[in-house]
Symmetry: C2
Subunit: 328 residues, 2 copies
Amino acid sequence: MVLANRPTGLVDENTLRMESEPVPEPADGEALVQVRYLSIDPTIRTWMDDVPSYLPPIGIGEVIRSGGVGEVIESRTDAYQPGQLLFGMTGWQDYVIADAGEKSMQVLPDGVPPGIAIGILGVTGMTAYFGLIDVGKVTEGDVVVISGAAGATGSAAGQIAKIKGAKKVVGIAGGAEKCAYIVDELGFDEAIDYKNDNVAARLREACPDGIDLYFDNVGGSILNDCLANLALRGRVVLCGAISTYNDDGPPTGPSNYLTLLVRRGRMEGFIIIDYLDRFGPAQMEMAGWIAEGKIKSSEHIVEGLEKAPDALNLLFTGGNTGKVIVAL
Amino acid sequence: MVLANRPTGLVDENTLRMESEPVPEPADGEALVQVRYLSIDPTIRTWMDDVPSYLPPIGIGEVIRSGGVGEVIESRTDAYQPGQLLFGMTGWQDYVIADAGEKSMQVLPDGVPPGIAIGILGVTGMTAYFGLIDVGKVTEGDVVVISGAAGATGSAAGQIAKIKGAKKVVGIAGGAEKCAYIVDELGFDEAIDYKNDNVAARLREACPDGIDLYFDNVGGSILNDCLANLALRGRVVLCGAISTYNDDGPPTGPSNYLTLLVRRGRMEGFIIIDYLDRFGPAQMEMAGWIAEGKIKSSEHIVEGLEKAPDALNLLFTGGNTGKVIVAL
């Protein structure tokens, strides 16, 4: 599945094109991997724009860049054995070559389900972990607000905030069903339904002493409303801006940014690839929380590579709860 | 000089009103101070709006809040002797009561000129010092950009950046004269004339590897242009937003804020009153730099209390170079 044309707004039938070519032959030190699952993440949409970012744009005619899990079919290296599951950057395609020298893919430990490996123990969960703990410096007693709270990263972030002793965790999500899910299933203290509530008013009600830590997945008016209600020395973690990724041109800037000045606040962005060398201990801790039942995650599975564009759009239309995965 | 009506835009003849009342009598523990100099700072304009900030708005009918220097005329405390100069919050008025118990004013050390006390060694200089060093964490080798660079705080910030080993210090100021002043007199490496240059293009030229530290006094489009050119892990220190203080309603937000995300940047605000208990050592260090000729400051003196509103407006029309002081 290659990029045919750069999208404006949601991905549509003109954006992508299925191409066929012979299954590649692994060279010495490589293995042939059949892709089983794709991790569908909002950042993929940003790579489709011709805008410099933390990774180069996907070129026209190139396979869509994506994380995933696959099975070793044929191996010419001792690093990978046929039948093993590997995870790493697979791209939106049926087969990929894993290079043992470049460590382009890693062996999935026995017993870890693929959905967990690319979800809560993968980039998705690690984004919540390092964003909240390292960038946001979540502290006991914090009032924490999470947007995109029913999404894969947001739902993990809210639960980690509770584990770390936040006084109150408020999630912002779209629709009554998602709001009920994050409170009843995931243990958020309150939910704000951005599709039906007045977000600014509800934030003032839910956080009368202000927001100590806002974990932003969405940007736009919700970011602006949270800035307006920032507590003294409040922190804003910029994880994403999913409400703006389909905009043509730059987003509307947050007009309330000067609360950062009068309330001595901080707004900071991060990219999870900077933390790759620290995934090990964080994944151990996260696995422990999963085992103790302190963190739950859910998956939204879409079947078939040809459905990958629709799966990506779900993230922007709010059609998913939890981690979106394409099963091939 | 009291607040008669809240201004929209620049202060005008309807904003303020001169009132006369008897000179106050000092009680036990107090001294009567005749005000000699007023420190004219952009933040005074923000206190005239009916908007919650780090201090309450000035009430209608209240004397305009302001720093200043005055001379003790009559004293009923051992803390202050007649003839001594004191500095502190004087307000825009001819006389003020200094309360020794509340330490509302402090004795100016012998030999320190009043203009220095409320300028480079006062809140103005300390704002540059703590903003650049504590909030901005200026580091050897940094590429630093300062807006409002010919103003009192900006000119100090640029010189401190050089002292602290910045690789390059670029100042943004309005007009050829100010640009020549900051380069030729103050030692900035380059100047950008925002009234005549294309700021975004000049920033790219002057900082081809991006901006490590942007000290923002102005907000608006210049903040947005600097965000666009932020280096990896660049920092934005929000000191002020003088281009927006006369706006009716919220300012335009910085649409390029997402560079904070893709370049792992940080934007942080501060208020100098949080640092009052650390002024001592910082003032010592600053006094040393002045003595060594490493920091220069200039003053723009306006005569007469009745001219204080005009003096304040100079800050917004760009009519000043250096610290604006009203001499009574």
